[in-house]
Amino acid sequence: MRHFKKSHLLIGVGLVWVALSRIFQGEHTLELATADNTAFTTSVGDVAASIRGNRTKSSAFIYFFNPIRAAINGFVEIIRSIISVPSGNSIIPVIGWFGVVAIVALAVYATSKLRTALLVVSLLMACGALGMWQFTMDTLAMTIASVLLSLLFGIPLGIWAGLSDRVLKILTPFLDLAQILPTLVYLAPLALFFLIGTASATIATMVYSIPIAIRITAHAIRNLNQSPIEAALSMGSTPKQTLTKVQLPMAKQMIILGINQTVMAALSFVVIAALIGAPGLGKPVVDALIIRNVGQGFVAGFAVVFVAILLDRSTSAAAKAQEGFIPMTPHQIRGRRIKRAIAGLAAIAAIFASRSVLSLAVWPGSINIAQQVEDVTNHVTKWVTTNLYIFTVGFKDFISNWVLNPIETLLAFSPWFVTMSAIVLIAAVIGGIRVAMLATGLLALIVLSGLWHEAMITLTQTIVATLLTMSIGIALGIWVGRSVRAERIVRPFLDAGQTLPAFVYLIPMLGLFGPTRFTAIATGIVYSIPVVVKIVSEGIRAVPVAMIEAATVAGSTIRQIITKVQLPAAKKAILLATNQGMIFVLAVVVIGGFVGSGGLGYLVILGGSKPDLQGKGLVAGFAILLLGVTIDRIAQASARRT
């Protein structure tokens, strides 16, 4: 009865909204020309300028921000001087390229299989051959530095949150917020306090990756088999003994898995952090995107993908080595010792060689296939866009004309109060009065910021990308959830898709669709489908076998089983997937500001480069945050209410 009423209410709200939008089309849309500031954005710009001016004077800077910046810069520079930039008086880093390849290969070999080691070597060499050696080393150095710092804070906090309910309760809102926050949002504010450069980039990366380390560590501690812990307590263990002798050893494997995730998150952020001066592969990616050179973007993009695979394989190999508690036989232990000794000696020899032979120290310029790769990709892109025009542009135009434009008209070109009331009413129907009040507050803040119209443009793209993501993702998720074979086929792509930095997806999409709104949407779809498929397929697979057997025995067709048993039973997973999908999509859609998506993301990026629009960029970042929280709260309420 209640459900019936709810859907009718939603349709009613929709109809009134469309009607009002038709009548008042184009009025009170709060449009603001890109170059214009409001009084509010101007004053935010002034505040930002005064903060910047106070860097050498204010004690907050002298005693807090500047020392932190100096310490982090110093730490990152030490790691960079080992593998990337000339150290001290030398013209080469402490370890030349040959030494780096050898160390990485031998370290992987010592913990895992020869095959993984060979893969890792070829990936590193490929980065060198793409002419990206120095950028690759910078990215590695930045990632290593941020991961070490993230783990330094994240693991102890995670353990604490795992042991204490109170700590978890305090941390949870921050962890949630960090998960909703699109990456683009906190770059500018951090740069304001820590200057553009490695320190800001490292801190921003930590903000992004620490929550992951905390969450997984806390989860690892909380989900242990309780019976050994109870036994340890019954024998009179102190809390410290229980932690060090029981809980941590049992949680070790999961915590190492968390390190893998932290590394991947850090990598994807280090690439984006090029926007605030992080050295590394992000820089050539950004450069290529700005001049719209797809081939050049591919060269850098490949290197990013290679580094991602490299880091994922080597850290997950380390996690696998921890599987099970059964130790090796003495014979195996001796074998491993010999293996490690040889690897260690070989690494020392390689480092020595890389310091004494110039061609092993600096990547030889003669080995460079960047130009060829660039030419081939530009060629292929051109061929695709001319010959498959009907598919790329046809699909783009179809979606633009029939989905994107109508929704944009409704959201962004209706009077702001009509759109806002409609969203609040929808929130009320879905989530109840509290969610509606929250939405009212958040949306009112967006209106006050003066960037309502841009926010609605971004919301439109988010909604369209989410709709497409969900229709593809649910279909794929059902397939993967029902068939073991499908899972085996799709799984590697899902895993790869989740480890790649969002930034990289922009490059091929730019090649296919050119600099348009649709490029951002397509990137958002590609980026968020893996997570949606994963959650939906897990939900489908979690439906009890007995339920399906009962339905089959009752004579259901496959279609009936899917629609009447599996989908309803997996409803919670689907709603969760929608929520996650939306958050992922929003994060990418704002990055799409680079390739012509407009909206808030564009303003953020513009604010970074144009001093007189800096305030507007900061406000836009804040508006993205407000939008993200609004979307998340409404989506979560709908998941909770079922």
Partner: protein, 318 residues
């Protein structure tokens, strides 16, 4: 009322020695304001009524009993009867709401955290249904764990662990890991670990419920053997009446958190106090439990001591 029955003094030992474990008016109530339930008229309500009225559940309600030194005292009940909560209250893995627990005359329920740790390390230990072994440690280091946290040197604790390994029949498994062992062998490790500190009292929480029937029988024999050899006081939880009859000197039957009847197996079978107990013991073949000793009354003056003639009968009496 329970109290009176239990300390009535079957088995002469109780009358002479102070009890090893003595429980008085023990309560564990979950829910809002649990103390208000203790001893109130509400406590007499059934579980669902109590819950509806106060939102509380009395997992253990007003339990009292004594365990004599060297006795195997079995607490038996169906799932949800509160027996697991009871044994956790005795070891304070769960904090009791009210009541007293005396171990050799010392009230455990009032022990400070430090004293409680000391008691756990030296005076009693516990065996768990799901073994609770540390998966990352070898058998020998699992068994040595309680000695290790007590600060014993490695060589010393391994020597002691090896003794216990022999005692429980784990010879040759010292360097295996728990997941390499069958359930029965894992529980032997659990037993060995509990015995390593040479405790005065052993608490066993459904130690064999997770095992296959055949292995369960072996392990019951094992516990009987160990009890004969070591003479430890044991509090043994089970939901299996035949197990209770087999290992127990006396049995307490629990229902809805309260003790219904305490007695030797013979008494429970011969004189069930109510239908609930009668229902329980109905399937036990009386001939297995009731011995001639129970059926016969003590000799009175003037009784003929000699049996009737055929010489066989005489031989068996002698």
């Amino acid at each position: 009322m329970v109290d009176g029955k239990s300390s009535a003094g079957e088995g002469g030992s109780l009358a002479h020695n102070p009890p090893a474990v003595s429980v008085r008016g023990l309560w564990k109530v979950y829910g809002p304001n649990p103390l208000s339930i203790v001893g109130s008229p509400d406590a007499k309500l059934s579980r669902s009524e109590l819950r509806a009225k106060t939102g509380c559940t009395a997992a253990v309600s007003d339990v009292s009993f004594d365990v004599a030194p060297g006795e195997v005292f079995v607490v038996m009940g169906l799932s949800g009867s509160g027996k697991s909560t009871l044994i956790r209250c005795l070891t304070r893995l769960v904090e009791p709401t009210a009541g007293e627990i005396f171990l050799d005359g010392e009230d455990i329920s009032k022990a400070t955290p430090e004293r409680l740790r000391e008691l756990r390390r030296q005076h009693f230990s516990m065996v768990f249904q799901h073994f609770g072994l540390l998966p990352h440690r070898k058998v020998i280091d699992n068994i040595a764990y309680p000695l290790e946290i007590n600060g014993m040197k490695k060589a010393e604790r391994h020597a002691r662990a090896n003794e216990v390994i022999e005692l429980v029949g784990l010879h040759g498994y010292a360097h295996a890991f728990p997941e390499q062992l069958s359930g029965g062998m894992q529980q032997r490790v659990g037993l060995a670990r509990a015995l390593a500190v040479d405790p005065q009292v052993l608490f066993l929480d459904e130690p064999f419920s997770a095992l296959d029937p055949l292995i369960r029988r072996d392990m019951q024999q094992e516990i009987i053997r160990l009890h004969r050899e070591l003479g430890k006081t044991m509090v043994f939880i089970t939901h299996d009446l035949s197990e209770a009859v087999k290992v127990g000197d006396r049995i307490a039957i629990m229902r809805d958190g309260a003790v219904v009847q305490i007695g030797t197996p013979e008494e429970l079978v011969a004189n069930p106090l109510d239908d609930y107990v009668a229902n329980f013991v109905r399937d036990i073949a009386k001939s297995h439990v009731l011995t001639l000793k129970y059926l016969a009354r003590p000799a009175m003056p003037g009784d003929e001591i000699d049996g009737p003639e055929p010489s066989q009968a005489r031989m068996s009496c002698a």
